[in-house]
Amino acid sequence: MSTYNELEEKEYGKLTSHIFRRVLGLLKPHWKWAVGFLLCIALVSIIDSYTTFLSKRIIDEGIIAGSREAIVRTIIIYGSLILVQAASAFGFIYLVGVLAERVRYDLRKQMFNHLQQLSLSYFSETPVGWIMSRLTSDTERLSDLLTWGILDVTWAVINIATAAIFMFIINANLALIVIIMLPILILVAFRFRTRILYYYRQSRKMNSKITGAFNETITGVRVIKALSREEDNLEEFSELTDGMYHASFKAAWLSALFLPTVQVISALGLGVVLWRGGMQVQLGGMTIGGIQAFVSYITFIMWPIQDIARVYAQMQNAVASAERIFGLIDTEPDVKNRTNTIETETIEGDIRFEDVHFYYEEDDPVIKGLSFHVKQGEMVALVGPTGGGKTTIVNLLCRFYEPTRGKIYFNDVDYQDMKLEDIQSRIGVVLQTPHLFSGSIRDNIRYGNLTSTDEDIEKAAKLAGAHDFIMQFDRGYEQDVGEGGNLLSVGQKQLISIARAILAQPELFIMDEATSSVDTLTEALIQRGMDRLMENRTSFVIAHRLSTIKRADKIIVIEDGHIQEMGTHSELIRKKGKYYNLYTQQFRHELEAQYDILNKPQPVESS
């Protein structure tokens, strides 16, 4: 398995036979398209060379020989070949282009579906942007190599080969001169192309840094102004633009040097051909048309060569892309079903944590030996400072992670013996920062149960207390929530995510209470919605509000991965320990908020 760390900076990959076969394998389901475009491009390439040969015949068999008929005949052949070529061009552009899109489609689909199977740990370790580039730029690069790259190389190789054959037919000696020239041209072209691509990518990198600098300056402009950083900033920024200037200028002038260099080399070859060929005309070894053909072949040989060089340079990057893509596809999920799973109809029942340990890295344990017992239908409030382990407990409960040591039992069955789907389809979760998907409000609520009717959705919304505000929108339930739900307020998003959870009719309800402020009315609605959800259900709440905490059947104070205190509200208050402190602090905050014209509600949260 390749993690993103290893491959992050890698730009050049080595084409091993393994990768090669796997990459080609991507074409397998569409082999007919591949064969189709290869045939078309081969035809185009052969005709390209052959028409040059026809030009020679116009001169030799037509003009020199004085045969009007030969001219007409050759022109007709030439004309029909142009038609054939146009048809094949249509064929290859369509075939290779659609194939490229199809390969991209396939790759994205395969990666996306695989991502859905991966565990939460993968997503907390891997930045979103990194994954996104796998499905965008890497996919693009790999599919381009597989389609347009192969196309260009095929065209180029056949073009050079057929040109060589025609040259040999016209005059073998002169053809040899050209053949000797070829490796030099190819070598020069490869060197150039690799360098150009290097600087080009360099300039892309600088460009993204420049974008980053603009972004920071614009978002942080207040600080910049307050601290009078303008001059220093400009100096730092100019280093970026200098870097950009040097990289793109170099890429540009190398490109400007590349073609002329190839042209001059071929012109030298052409000079030799003209010299020797010109002399041979008299001896009969060469015709005037032949000279014309050689001139054309040599002049145009730089195009296939530059194509091959370009694909060669791109190939190294594309292989690196392929390695990253396959790395993603080969990643095994950490949490998956065991081989002998038990069919479970329900997860209702007591929940037991037995000496549960959890760490991401061995020397940095997050949960250290947690044991507790929750009876069916109880409500548990988890409280304590951030980073203490509350969220990890919730993640363990949902089996997003599994304990590194110890066991969790649902109704006396080790939950690792159950099927993931069986557990997760019976849990309802409301997150601290509610995540909505772009689309309508209705779609977002329906997410809880895809088969539910519109009436079910409205019923759930009413139970959650979301119905009233939804109806205030012009479009009601069809109201668009915007990207990530950003057209709604935090409180509204929360109400919708509660409705979503109600619709799912979970057996176990888990809620991470929001710390952010909502107005009093919404707050009351949220509380009522939560009550509905918790009725007769086992529930775990990462609680920030006193009303929630006080209602709990069991309060667990988690700090530093341990249970510091556990009990009911009155038990813990009497203890005058951690809970007492948390409670009194929050009490002040909340009352201040309630009475105070100045304050918004403050959660019990720590830095």
């Binding site: 009007r68 142009i82 061009a89 899109e101 102004k225 601290l227 012109a267 995540h435 830095s607």
Partner: protein
Amino acid sequence: MPVSKNKYYDLDITKTLTKNRLFGLLRLMKGYHWLYIIAIIALAVSTVSRTGISLVLQRFIDEVVIAGDYGSHLVIIILIFIGLALSQGAFAFISGWLSSKTAESSTRRLRNFLFDHLQRLPYAYHAESKTGDLIARSTSDVDAINRFFGEQAIGIGRILLIFIINFTALLQLNTRLALYSVIAIPIIIGVSIFFFSRVSKAYEEYQEQEATLSNRLQENLTGVRVVKAFARQGYESYKFDKENWQKFRLGKKLLSIHSLFWPVSDIVCGVQMLAAFFLGAIMALEGTITVGTYMAFSSLVVWIIWPMRNLGRLIVQTSTGMVSYSRVAEMLKQEREPLTDGEYHPEGSVQGEIIFDQVYFEYEKDNPVLQDINFTCKPGDIIALLGSTGSGKTTLVNLLPRFYDPTSGVITLDGVDITKYSRKYLRSQIGIVEQEPFLFSRTIRENITYGVHRKVTEDEIIQAAEFAAIHDVIEEFPRGYDTLVGERGVTLSGGQKQRVAIARALLKNPRILILDDSTSSVDTETEAQIRGALDHLMQNRTTFIIAHRIQSVMDADLILVFDHGKIVQKGTHEELMKQSGMYRDIFDIQTRIEVELEKEISSVNL
């Protein structure tokens, strides 16, 4: 106001703006015009050489091969041939070198200028603009302008030169032949312009779908916990597949247009070329032209016809360059905020005596945010601003560093109107600690020393961090002070960010301090630490506290109670407690809370 030039840009681009966009684009090249002109001349020389090669070939056939004269004539012709090839290559390179130098230099200057321009635009402009839009104008629009210089302008020039020079040469060879060879060219250009404008529309659609697809993906990745919690993997795959397939379909559509254009234009160009060949061959056969002329002619014809297909693409693309130019120009039209203008330049630091005299402020006309603000404070005073959100507190402190200027009324600092100070000097005297400060994606060390315009020793940094009660937190990070803010696995909480900002303010050592006192979302212990840090910071400085809690105003020398943009009460804690009003109401609540807390706890104890 005039824009001062500096070593990063030697041109005031705001002065080059013109209504005519093409002209405006060309004026952006100012200073490099000669390079560009030489580039075009070099291009012409290169093209002439290229055409010369074809003409030499004609001589070679007619005078050497057909005449059978293989003496010195052959050598001379071959030498001329190689000489022309060298000249073609060398001048092509020179042209490419100079034009890219022009493009890249002009773009670098434009980038630097834009960057500086943006950071010097008034705060009011930034407050109203969308970040994404500004970034797009400064990056992708600048890229489009760069392509205009580097590719499109020179590309169109190249094709036109090729046409003019080769057509002149063709005319020299044979007028009739020349005219017959270019009949189809208007058709080719017309078709390609039509096609490329169609393609760019289809391409836009395709790109939009790409964005939609990326959004889908991003939503899925950021919402991974929801997806898993509801076990909706299958549904997510279905939704993604729908957009993915749509992109495939749009790609197919785009390709269909391409796969029609290229063969069709192949046929048009091919037929034109063949017609010319045919005519030429017949004329050669009849002896109207020589065989050499026919050969030169056929190579010139090929050279003229095929590049024309690209002319349409370049012409269509220049329109993007023009649109981008207008978008950038719009931004450049905004007036910069003068930083150094000001007639009063005191030696050293200010004392910190501040007077607000009948200050009014409104963002939009007839919608006053601050009304009739009057108060005086002595150097070192603590002024607490109390009031609900939107009551004008933040606006008031925004006037001090002149992020905004009052609509009417005067603010004086040490007896001098603050508009007489330069903004730069004024801001150097003011430190701001915001509730959730913006940190830059640099190391923590750099964030602490950010904006401190002097050499700072390591000891000073650590001392400041210690006073700000953030040193221990930083030391816990694996890379300590070298930790990059926003680095994976290291996230600073709001309270920690605030303390980094406090350390920064300590190093800056300003005479006036603006403090957004929000010790929200921190636990008691941290709250005490921050309070200590703030007390330390406030010593001997005139401090404005935007207060959220009554505790932080009690020690203030002057408390200003705000309501709807007006000061409704002012005085010290003792004074205000004697009056009935908002302040005492707030204070009473605090006491009541403690009573209720007592009650609450004792009820549990029963």
